[in-house]
């Protein structure tokens, strides 16, 4: 028989491995979402750079396909959660509030131009990434802060090619970040 100190150490080992398994599962799903959004954001920025007149349609399509992809991901990977349905509704409300607040800031309180919009949405998105990382894992924080920093550099120092810069920084960053998360 073992003493209570050894038993505590064994339970701590169990807690640690369970935490890592759950984080690994979360990273698996988050990496698919990040790569999916990365591809869409890359395409959205390329359209914005090449055909600015169609940018608004491109970004509506990006948002619809992005959220649709997350819904599909969730349907194929149902949560093992005692309040799964309530959790799903909360997730949907998160997106509604996210886009409503962003729209309020960019179109009602402020009247952002294309360049400001091109910087605001990635920074806003990455803020949530970084905040989520404080609970769910350092990879989210690293991706959030990294893309935010590169977005600001582009905003202040890149000229006409800013959408192209954002295609690689935001779209490419999410793709690389997602693949890196998968390996973490």
């Amino acid at each position: 028989m073992i003493d209570s100190k050894e038993a505590s150490a064994a339970l701590a080992d169990i807690d640690d491995i369970v935490r890592r398994v759950k984080q690994s599962q979360l990273y698996d799903l988050a990496s698919i979402a990040a790569v999916w959004w990365g591809v869409l954001v890359f395409a959205g920025n390329v359209v914005t750079w090449l055909w600015p007149v169609y940018a608004v349609y491109a970004w509506v399509a990006v948002d619809v396909m992005g959220v649709g992809g997350l819904v599909a991901l969730r349907l194929f990977n149902p949560p093992h959660h005692p309040h799964g349905a309530a959790f799903g509704i909360r997730l949907l409300l998160v997106f509604v509030l996210f886009f409503a607040f962003g729209y309020l800031c960019t179109n009602v309180i402020g009247h952002f131009g294309p360049r400001q919009l091109g910087a605001f949405w990635p920074l806003y998105f990455m803020l949530f990434y970084a905040l989520a990382g404080l609970w769910f894992g350092y990879a989210f924080v690293a991706i959030g802060l990294g893309i935010s920093a590169l977005t600001l550099i582009g905003f202040f120092y890149i000229g006409e090619a800013f959408p192209l810069w954002m295609a690689f920084v935001n779209g490419g960053g999410l793709i690389i970040g997602g693949l890196w998360m998968r390996r973490s």
Partner: protein, 99 residues
Amino acid sequence: MAELDDIIHQPLRLKIMAALNALPQSTGLEFARLKKLTGATDGNLGAHIETLAKAGYVSVDKAFVGKKPQTTVTATAVGRGAFARHVATLQEIIAGKQV
């Protein structure tokens, strides 16, 4: 008085069972993922999985994904029960119900 499970009590086997038990029933982990989570070497992990499989605590499925062999390890119902009892015993020891 409940006894600790000698098969599960070994540190690496405890980690393997804890990892598999954290998954939904009938969901397994690939060998490579299990190796990363436990920090074990190939040989060591393979040997301990074999011990657990002989006890009926895990099932091992080998398949080919493309041209690559993939081994998936899953906790059985017997293994989950044994793990739950082992954890309960550890908690009893901490609570001072066993010495």
